[in-house]
Symmetry: C3
Subunit: 339 residues, 3 copies
């Protein structure tokens, strides 16, 4: 889908080493200027299209020198030197991309740059805010992005695919409510379990020993940003009337779903919590557990991609109530893609 912002990287991935990542089929070069700004430009030299992130290409101050014939580009993508002659052709410039660093992510705009400023970048403030502690990572997925969106919009799979980690019988058993805000371009899916088993993922991190009230409130802003507002509290503990909620544990599970190609995806995941902020043991446990859960999805979705790629078109799926969120997301994506 064109004319959208996508997460290309965590800010921490971009430094004074040339870095390349393919977003929506476009190979993009990222590096940080000496002043600290992130740049985003085409990863193909205009001369013979050598990838600028490939050795022996390298940074010299705020210029990139191509490792093949030495074409040299500034942070604005304009070529400033070529070999064997002093005149630099006027047309020698790399395509640049609108880029914004926000909420720990590096966002790039894919499509017509003139539309970038008027296109909203969805927010995930917990990833870069006092009062929250974050663990995060990225796993390469050899499957189309729509399979990951399906997966995340229907958490009933936690009971089966992630049993022993974050799944318990109540997730699959509890009906969901789905709501679509066409104007804001957001799909909401909510599953609220009043009395559920506490999965190891939360028992170990919160210290709760008994059964819990467990809320899973999904807020998906197609195409890229998915947030699961997760609330865990002992059974019966609810937010106060004034909206404060001091006796519950809050976890914001954020996914950025960035297509690499038509059949592969960058699966960025982050888990922000408002408790045990300085407890490294909790951080280590959540990082390890969440990565395990993500890899269970990756394994399953990689299998599904192979299944789909090997099957004739027109295969008919069967959808039920649990799929209303995923189907709403598909409809919104189709609408956005057609704009």
């Amino acid at each position: 889908m064109q004319n959208m912002w996508y997460v290309a990287a965590y800010g921490r991935e971009i430094g004074r080493t040339l870095f390349s990542r393919t977003v929506c089929g476009e190979s993009i070069l990222f590096w940080r200027t000496e002043a600290g700004s992130v740049t985003a430009m085409s990863d193909r030299c205009v001369h013979r299209r050598f990838p600028l992130a490939e050795q022996p290409s390298h940074l010299v101050g705020d210029t990139v020198v191509c490792g093949y014939h030495g074409f040299t580009y500034g942070a604005d993508g304009v070529c400033v030197a070529v070999p064997g002659q002093t005149r630099v052709p006027r047309t020698a410039r790399l395509k640049t991309y609108p880029v914004v660093e926000q909420d720990s992510f590096v966002w790039v705009f894919i499509g017509d740059p003139a539309l970038a400023a008027s296109t909203r970048i969805p927010r995930a403030p917990w990833l870069d805010q006092p009062g929250w502690t974050v663990v995060s990572g990225m796993e390469p997925l050899q499957a189309r992005a729509s399979l990951l969106i399906d997966n995340l919009m229907d958490l009933s799979h936690e009971t089966y695919l992630h049993g022993g980690y974050i799944g318990t019988p109540e997730v699959a058993e509890t009906p969901i409510t789905t709501e679509v805000d066409e104007d804001a371009g957001i799909v909401y899916v909510s599953r609220r379990m009043a009395d559920a088993a506490c999965p190891p993922f939360y028992a170990k991190s919160t210290g709760i020993t008994g059964r819990i009230t467990r809320w899973q409130d999904i807020e998906y802003t197609p195409p890229c940003l998915y947030v699961l507002h997760s609330r865990i509290a002992p059974v019966g503990v609810l937010p106060h009337d004034d909206g404060t909620d001091p006796d519950a544990f809050h976890v914001e599970v954020v996914y950025a779903i960035t297509p690499e190609t038509d059949r592969s995806t960058h699966d960025f995941w982050a888990v922000a919590r408002d408790f045990a902020l300085d407890d490294q043991g909790v951080s280590d446990f959540l990082a390890e557990s969440n990565r395990t859960v993500v890899l269970q999805d990756v394994t399953a979705l990689n299998v599904l991609e192979k299944v789909i790629a090997s099957e004739p078109d027109g295969y008919q799926e069967l959808s039920i109530n649990i799929d209303t969120g995923g189907l709403a997301a598909r409809r919104m994506i189709a609408k956005l893609a057609g704009r």
Copy 2:
């Protein structure tokens, strides 16, 4: 070729663990009920087509639980439970396949199930009968089934590709007779050597030390079942007039040739003998030797598949007398495919 029975597995491969094998491009799930019957159904959940043989899918009694969202199916393929709701959609059922366990094989019918009962399953009774001892296996072949059929219908290749195992000069030198029974759908190829060297394969297993009378009588029932009736006896020893043949050694070499895809094949092989029935040393030797011979074929045919895949269509082969059996098989297969 549709509307035919194919060997999908040995019966011993199917138990209380979910098992998948692709036959003619269709991915089929096999498992044995608690009562011991083999079931055959589509290996794709109707919901989001997750493969039912893939972890963490699993059996619960006589039902299969999908490892992705928990859709649950009975032995008849009918869905009996879905997550999040009690009503199961009426259309939620897996395609099932006619399946028969016979002669140690699990046969499935590919095509219109209504034709299964009226379509003959060829027999290989020696594989599951008193008076015979069997060694067997299956090797995956990365080549189209027709290359294996060509290979088996023309045993003159034993002299060259399997020299030192089952080939001797007489195999390539001795002319064949070919006969086609159109009504029965069988191709016969016979090569009878009155005075031939005894290859190690038979010398070691029968104990014959001198030269032999060696008969190779092929009976191929397209598309799947190939039997080589092999008779070995000291030179001059022939069957009695009443048809009994107590002084010869008989080996029934059975191949089931099952297309996995257009370019890969399940190469089932079994060797049944009517001598040294309880001699484990002979069994071990024949298992090891025959597997070696099969793997020599697999290596050569995998090379041929790559050659064919890399060449333009319309390549012209040159056929000679030894190829009459293979050409007859091709004609019969073309006729069956066109019915």
Copy 3:
């Protein structure tokens, strides 16, 4: 490009073992007769196209025996024996290729054999001549031949891709002169540096310690043969008026650029020198250094091939003065291909 001579191998690669190499998509079998002549014929048996260079195919005297069914061919490609019958079909013969052993290479003619005699084979006499010592090798390149031609026709890349080996700043800085001899079918590119740093490649092999006069005179005879006449001398040392040049070091760097397929290339390289003829240390150093340089090119061009294969057609390159040689080569190749 058809109707051209290509280098298929070094003469030393062809002996009494069956050898196969694919040239312009044609898989060719090479072997040496008992009298020492190199033969070149199709590497596919006429019967079932088994590759004749594949085990257990083998030589018996001056015949090749196919490892599948024993079809046997003479040095002229004519089949002399088949299994199971004494009559050999008249049409049973392998396609043969015009072949010439010259300048240490085995050249084959791809195209209409009737044109072979009238088509020039370009020469590289230094590779097999008294007064010169040669190191050579061949690296398989997973990139189309045109990328290697581009690479070699523009040596300004030495400064960047081969810095520390044969590149110094002067190579990229010094302008070139380009000349095209349409009648002879040769492209000349010359870069003459009057006062340049001496790269390690030449400092170590010649023993020169100061700055040098460095000449790079390219002579490319499309499609296959590229020669770089390299002259190194202390600054100010020029050839005598009579054409002799006793105080300089001469290195003839020869590449044979042979397409394997549309997307892969045999990259033959040889370095002949007229100094330190018997110094094994210099030979070892030049072999190792040149192979390193070739592999730097291979790595870069393999990357470029993947880039090109993943990009839409019609990508627009930007060319500058350094590219005049490469562009002239492309034009001449297009003209030869269209003849």
